[in-house]
């Protein structure tokens, strides 16, 4: 279990979290679902050590898939991966798995949006971390590409079984991908439930879960 206890964060007079607590089961995908401004990204950034906060968070080695791929522009695809992994064979294997072996020498500027995102996924799994943080990683993609990326993500995750904390405001994404769904509002978890079935779920089988989640979000 990864335990977060007494986490507090304020931006000036605006308190986003006060004594927030959360337990994450290892090897599972937990999804934080909430409206814009509910503090989802703030929590991820605090766990990753990118922002200052009050309270104690466990010291974790993190991989992070940001909203944008955030590749280093002056390094090639291989350069971006070799920055965080010195094992060339592992890099080759990962490039193969994400289908970018032939584009290893390209710079990010010469990649399509989907290819850049695949590099971001490859980087996140290549880095040996305790937790993988994902901040609306597929939000800017069209539907077809979004599901292709989710399939690719699960293809790698199944062999890796890394602990994942994903934030999103997309109900379908959460229902399809998460073992456990947490609904966040004003820095508090207002609902915590575990839908049935193994991930990734087929959305056509999840109408009741989807309906329930939408109702909880609307309320």
């Amino acid at each position: 279990m990864i335990e977060i206890e007494n986490f507090s964060k304020s931006y000036g007079a605006n308190t986003v979290y006060k004594n927030f607590g959360l337990s994450l089961e290892e090897g599972k995908i937990t999804c934080l679902l909430g409206a814009s401004g509910s503090g989802k990204t703030t929590l991820l950034n605090a766990i990753a050590g990118l922002i200052k906060y009050e309270g104690e968070l466990p010291k974790l080695k993190c991989s992070y898939i940001f909203q944008n791929p955030q590749l280093i522009p002056n390094l090639t695809v291989r350069g971006n991966l070799s920055l965080i992994c010195s094992d060339g064979a592992k890099i080759d294997d990962m490039l193969e798995r994400v289908g970018l072996s032939d584009k290893a020498a390209r710079y990010p500027v010469n990649l399509s949006g989907g290819e850049a995102r695949r590099v971001a996924i490859a980087r996140a799994f290549l880095y040996e971390s305790d937790i993988l943080l994902m901040d609306e990683p597929f939000s800017s993609l069209d539907l077809k590409l979004k599901y292709r990326m989710l399939d690719l993500f699960f293809e790698i995750w199944r062999k890796d079984r890394r602990t994942v904390l994903m934030v999103t405001h997309d109900v379908d994404e959460a229902v399809k991908a998460a073992h456990r769904i947490l609904i966040l509002s004003d820095g508090k978890i207002i609902n915590d439930f575990t839908p049935e079935g193994e991930v990734p779920r087929d959305l056509s089988d999840c109408a009741p879960v989807r309906e329930k989640t939408v109702q909880l979000l609307l309320n």
Partner: protein
């Protein structure tokens, strides 16, 4: 029908027109003043340029001395500025320590410094120190702005993935800012040349462009003084254009499909 005047050709024509305007102002001023000791004629100046370049070996030695001193001052300024600006942009506390020094150097009166340095050092060293003092805050501000301007996403990625600061600086930050720095290098060296010559004039540095100008002034050789000024401007222009072209070339090189690994 293909247009004869492309924008590039038009720009060259407009620049040529600007040079013609400067030339016309000179000629008008020459005839208006009517005194060769105040404004020399274009013809005498032009002949003097050729005389200096072709028949006086002293000119080339002086030119090389001044140019080497300028390049030396630029290299020292760039090295110190890089060493202080890059960590300054990454660690706010370090920048708070460096900032008073850069503000002080920016406002320091150059002439007063030259006079003091002439007492403390010699006419060959003083212009180099002055040029460093003038160039350092300019280059420091540019490197600081370039590193600070690096996307937060890049910084966050490097932090999350535990990339060492030294690797981040030498493999990521410096290559990322180098095209913008290179494009300004010509302008910095031109500025350095200008300051160097001014300092050499004041210091009467032996075998230097500034020293030659001071000599021409003392002997009232106005065409020679104008010729040396014109040559200094041309040298600065050549350096500026050369570095701008180099920056354009590296920019093109960086944009194309690369194989850096």
């Amino acid at each position: 029908m293909k247009r004869f005047f492309t924008q590039r050709k038009l720009n060259i024509l407009i620049s040529a027109l600007a040079v013609a305007v400067m030339w016309a102002v000179w000629i008008i001023a020459y005839y208006a003043v009517g005194n060769d000791y105040i404004i020399p004629s274009f013809r005498d100046t032009f002949l003097s340029v050729f005389e200096e370049c072709l028949f006086k070996s002293g000119f080339w030695i002086s030119f090389l001395n001044t140019l080497l001193r300028t390049l030396c001052a630029f290299a020292v300024s760039f090295a110190i500025a890089s060493l202080l600006a890059v960590p300054g942009a990454l660690f706010p506390g370090f920048n708070a320590f460096v900032k008073p020094f850069t503000v002080f150097l920016r406002t320091l009166p150059t002439l007063a410094v030259i006079l003091l340095l002439l007492i403390w050092t010699n006419p060959r060293v003083a212009p180099v120190v002055v040029t460093v003092l003038v160039l350092f805050p300019v280059i420091h501000a540019r490197i600081y702005a370039a590193v600070s301007g690096i996307d937060d996403g890049v910084r966050h990625t490097l932090k999350v993935y535990g990339v060492k600061k030294s690797v981040a600086v030498f493999r990521i930050y410096l290559p990322m800012i180098s095209p913008s720095l290179l494009s300004q290098t010509g302008a910095d060296i031109s500025l350095g040349l200008k300051v160097m010559i001014s300092a050499e004039v004041l210091a009467s540095t032996y075998k230097s462009l500034g020293g030659m100008m001071q000599e021409a002034r003392l002997f009232l050789e106005m065409p020679r003084l104008a010729a040396l000024t014109l040559l200094a401007v041309l040298i600065g222009l050549v350096i500026d254009v050369a570095f701008t072209s180099l920056a354009r070339l590296t920019d093109k090189w960086a944009r194309k499909d690369g194989v850096n690994d």
